[in-house]
Structure formats: C-alpha cells, structure tokens
C-alpha cells in the first residue's frame, strides 16, 4: 500500500462528549442540527433569535434556536499480537499496521483521539498508548507495533491460549465503561465461548471486530500433497494428506468459523469485518455506511 487511504467511520446514536468533533453529540452548542427552541432568557444569544417561532409562541416569549454540537469520540484499538498474528505474507500484523495508519489519518480528520491497547500472552504495557490526537499518531502506533519485540511464548499447550484470553480481558478492563468506537483486531483463533463474558464489558461502545486472516490459511493447499502442520501457539502437530475431500472440509470449516464469529457478534449488534491478506480502506468505509445508523 503506497499511499495511506482514509476511511469513513460513524458511530450510531449520539455521543455525550463535550469536546467538539465530527460525530453527533448530545450537548448543545454550535452545530448544524437543530435541537430545540429555548427562551432568550435562558439562552441569551440574540443571533439565534427565531422570529417566526417567537410570533407563534403562545406565551409570547422570545425564542432562540439551539443546536446540537458535534462531538468528538475516543477510538480504542485493541490489537491481538499473539504468535498466530505473525503468520502469513505480508503478515497479519502488517495488515494491522496498515489499518492503524489509515485510522490515524481518518481520526485526525474527525478530530478524534485514538488509543492503542495491545496484548499477546500478556497485556503489553510497553505498547499501550493513551488516547491522543494528532496527525502522526497512526504512524507512531504502526511503528510501535512493527518494532514490538515478540513475546516469549508461554510453554505448554493450552496455557498460551488461556493466557491470551486473560490478557485480552486485562486490555478490555482498561477501557471498560467508556463509550466510543472500539476496533478489535485479531484472527480470533480463540475458543469463542470464553470471550463472550469479556465482550459484555464493551457493551457501551460501538464494537467493530476486525477479523484478520491470511489467504494462505483460509485457502487450503492443492490436493495430492502431504501437510505437516504445527499450531504456532500451542505447538500441537497434525499431519494430513490433502485430498479434494479434505480441501472441501477445510473450506467448510473456515466458513463455519466465519459464521460462528458473525453469530457471536450479532448478539452485540455488531458485525465482524473480515480482512484477507490486505487492508482496504474503501471496503471499511462501505462497512460503516452499511451498518452504522
């Protein structure tokens, strides 16, 4: 991706934030969307006098128009950095950094603050970025992510997955109760039922799960080959002879995992955004156009 493209995003409903921004806010102020009439006495701003409304007012008060002020929001980015995210060409984390750069530009245009919370097998304090505004924040985050030292894998088979889940919980706890927009970047190679309760803590926010999969893991290798596979995280091994039948099964399994994710997030009124190998800002814009209301 030579030139970072920005994308459009919206959050449904209005935001309570007092800081002026680009999203529909719930506080009065200077804005374009009409909220209500108020007495001149209450809102002493003669510039906004509404003569027509004042004439028709029963009580004969001078009425002033009040507007809703667009508010800015905070965008939180939760990034799964576990070993499986380092898989593929150019790598899923690379897709994540492309996204961060694009988000940086977009958020700056909206005047929103972005924060980054990364976790692998533990919550990565060193990569934590509190909400900030600025043109270069996205690039800064992308660089931080690119230069991040991979965590030393936790030994043991299921323990690494467990610790990833608990690290995810820690990360969610940091932003529990906030509102705004939350991007959750992961390949979701987790036991999905265990994250269900954690996701409850994000119910105030607009959750956008971004499922990053690599093309090579989604599309099985050609038939008539022998695959010695090893789970990058748990180091479990599985050998299989790829036949046409096995390929179909593989594709079916991918499809069912996709459906599971859709079902999981449908309960939280959000829909996962699937990325395969390359981040496309235009597709993400379209996603927001279609879903945010």
């Amino acid at each position: 991706m030579n030139e970072t493209e920005e994308f459009v995003y919206r959050v449904p409903g209005s935001t309570a934030g007092s800081r002026p921004g680009a999203h529909r806010g719930s506080s009065r102020g200077s804005g374009m969307s009409f909220a209500a009439h108020a007495r001149l006495f209450d809102q002493p701003d003669p510039r906004r006098l509404d003569l027509r409304a004042s004439i028709t007012d029963v009580r004969g008060e001078w009425l002033v128009r009040t507007y809703l002020q667009p508010a800015s929001i905070t965008v939180h980015v939760l990034i799964d950095m576990s070993t499986s995210m380092r898989f593929g060409q150019p790598g899923k984390l690379n897709v994540a950094t492309q996204f961060l750069q694009s988000l940086g530009i977009s958020a700056h245009a909206y005047g929103d603050a972005i924060s980054m919370l990364a976790f692998d097998e533990q919550f990565r304090e060193d990569l934590y970025m509190p909400p900030r505004r600025g043109r270069a924040i996205g690039s800064l985050m992308a660089d931080t992510l690119n230069n991040a030292i991979p965590a030393t894998p936790v030994q043991g088979k299921s323990s690494s997955q467990k610790s990833t889940i608990s690290a995810f919980q820690t990360a969610v706890n940091q932003i529990e109760g906030t509102n705004g927009l939350v991007f959750l970047l992961s390949d979701f190679h987790w036991p999905l039922n265990t994250v269900d309760s954690t996701l409850d803590k994000l119910s105030n926010t607009t959750l956008v799960p971004i499922v990053i999969w690599d093309k090579t893991e989604v599309v099985p290798p050609a038939a008539g080959q022998l695959l010695f596979a090893r789970d990058l995280e748990s180091q479990q091994r599985r050998q299989l002879w790829i036949s046409e039948h096995k390929r179909e099964q593989w594709l079916e399994n991918v499809q069912s995992q996709r459906q599971n994710l859709i079902d999981l997030f449908a309960k939280r009124n959000s829909k996962p955004f699937f990325i395969e190998s390359e981040f496309n800002a235009e597709r993400l814009s379209r996603y927001f156009m279609e879903h945010a209301s």
Partner: protein
C-alpha cells in the same frame, strides 16, 4: 546370505557403530519439519497423513541406521566352503629328448607270440597318457616337456583337449640329446605353487634316463614336494637291454648309474613315491592304469573364502530408504 552367516557378522570399523544412537534423531520432531499454522481448528482430521508421517520417521531412522552399519563395513570373514575335489591334479613331465624317439624295448617274445610292429617310446607314452586323459576327464592336467630345459606346454586346466593337443604335438620333430631333469622337476613343482589344494597332486615323470642332481636342486625338489604335498610317479622306460634295472643293488651302483642314483634320491623323499618300469606298451599302460586308480579318490576339503562384505547391501537399503524419503518430501507442502 543365509542365517548362520548373518550371525557371524563382524565389522571392519566397529567404532563407527558408536554413532548408531544418531539413528534415533528422526524420532525427535524439529520445528522446521512442519509448517506453522495459526490454528489447527479448521484443519480436517486425517489418519492417512499421520500414518505417512510415522512411516517417514521410521524410514529416516532405518536409513540412518543402515548407513551407519554400512560405514562400519559389516561382513563375514570366517567363511569356509566345503568342496569335494574330484580327480587329481596331475602334472605330466615328459622327457622329450632324442632318446625318446628310439623304439621301446620289447620283452622277450614268448613262444607262439607274434611280433608286433615297433613303436617309438614317445608314441607309447603318448598313447598311454592320452588314454588316461580320455578316461579321467575330471582330473586336471598340466603338461611339461623337458629336454635341455623345461618347456611348459599346458598349465593346469580342465580342458583335456588342450592336453591331448599338447601330447600330440610332442611327437613332432626330434629333441636334443641332452636332458636337464632337475630343472624340469623344479619347474613342474612350481606349477602347484599358489594353487588351492583341491585334490591329490602328483607329478608324472616319464623318462627313459636318469640324471644326477646337484645338492641345491635336490633340496629344492625335496622342499617343493613336501610344501605342495605332491606324490611323485616315475615311469621309467627302459630303452634297451642296456638300460639298467632300477632295483639293481650294488656297492657302487648308485655312483655309477645315473638312473639308480635318481631312484635312490626319490626313495629318500618324505613324500609318496612310486616307480613303474615300463619296457613295452602293455606295461606302460598298466603303469598308467595303476596311477589312475591311486589318484581317483574324491577329496573333501574346506576352502576358506575371502571376507564377504555386506556393506553394499546396507548401502542399497539406505538408498531405498532415501528414495522413500525423497518421494515423501516431494509430495510434502513446503510452504503455504
């Protein structure tokens, strides 16, 4: 390669076997043997793949093991093969001096017996020997003629035609009238040197005269006959009435008559010695027949065969294993 032989395996470089534990290395899984995949969740389960992987691991271990064993040079060194020697090895040492062209002396005609055409001694000997060769083709013959020096005509071989041709050729022309029997005997003994002992051995010395042998030659002959375990048959053809009888005993017979001196020397040898005095074709034939009877015993003997090296078979096994591994490698996915 039968079983008892296998148990007697020995190794040329036994210390190489210390490397055998290396053959277990394929049993330890390495990371780069498999491809890292983010999640096994959507990989279908498969038993065929697992079987192939196990086969591959075993084949790799076997391959290493066979290679190490092959490097240790396995083989069997104490191998004996029982052979049964049929027939003897007869080296015919035939006088081809001028005197052999003379007619054989006939015994005194008995009353009523008809005179037969005269035959030369060479002719008689040739016929008798040809008969021997023809009746006992199992024997191996060598033919050496001698006069001034030994003339090796045919080395030991199973090809009787060669000997017969040699015998036939011995009648052509005339020989010089000098003989050097010592040289001829030594040369005949040397024919046995380096040959494996596969049947009784004999030198058939056919001559019509004697020779005085010097001490060196005598010693050589005695040592040679003992070393190669050769029996000596001396067919003495009496040429004329003047030919001395070998059994003549006298105080100075040994010194005066060459033939008797030779006979006495032969008698003193440690090895078997027989003399046949032939004075006509019939007695010649009888002599040859007697020799034939004595030399026709089958002889069983163990022959040690050189060390048999089996490393080739292990290399072949390893190569086959490598082939299997190569096939597995080519059908393997190397990258997603």
């Amino acid at each position: 390669m039968n079983l008892p032989e296998l148990f007697q395996l020995d190794f040329g470089l036994p210390w190489v076997l210390l490397l055998l534990p290396l053959a277990l290395t394929p049993l330890f899984e390495r990371q780069r043997d498999s491809i890292g995949i983010p999640s096994l969740v959507w990989l279908p389960a498969d038993t065929l793949g697992q079987t192939l992987r196990k086969v591959g691991t075993c084949v790799a271990a076997v391959c290493l093991a066979t290679l190490i064993i092959a490097l240790a040079q396995p083989g069997t060194s104490k191998n004996y093969i029982e052979r049964i020697g049929r027939g003897a090895e007869l080296s015919v040492l035939m006088d081809r001096s001028a005197s052999m062209d003379a007619e054989v002396r006939r015994h005194q005609l008995k009353p009523g017996e008809q005179a037969r055409p005269s035959v030369s001694k060479n002719q008689v000997v040739k016929e008798a020997l040809s008969w021997l060769v023809n009746t006992r083709p199992d024997n191996r013959y060598a033919l050496t003629l001698f006069n001034v020096s030994a003339i090796p005509v045919a080395p030991f071989s199973d090809d009787e035609a060669l000997i017969l041709a040699g015998l036939a050729a011995s009648g052509i022309g005339r020989g010089p009238n000098k003989t050097n029997m010592g040289l001829a005997l030594v040369s005949a003994i040397e024919q046995f040197d380096g040959r494996s002992y596969s049947g009784s051995r004999a030198i058939l010395l056919v001559s019509d005269g004697g020779a005085r042998l010097d001490d060196t030659t005598q010693q050589q002959i005695r040592a040679g006959l003992t070393r190669n375990n050769i029996s000596l048959y001396f067919i003495y053809i009496q040429s004329s009435a003047n030919s001395p009888d070998l059994e003549t005993v006298g105080p100075d017979a040994e010194d005066v008559v060459e033939e008797i001196a030779l006979h006495q020397f032969f008698q003193q040898l440690g090895t078997e010695y027989r003399v046949f005095q032939a004075n006509d074709p019939e007695s010649m034939k009888e002599a040859v027949q007697e020799i034939d009877q004595q030399q026709n015993l089958p002889l069983a003997y163990l022959e040690q065969i050189p060390r048999v090296d089996y490393s080739r078979w292990f290399y072949i096994a390893a190569a086959i294993c490598c082939l299997v591994l190569a096939v597995l490698t080519t059908i393997r996915v190397h990258r997603l």
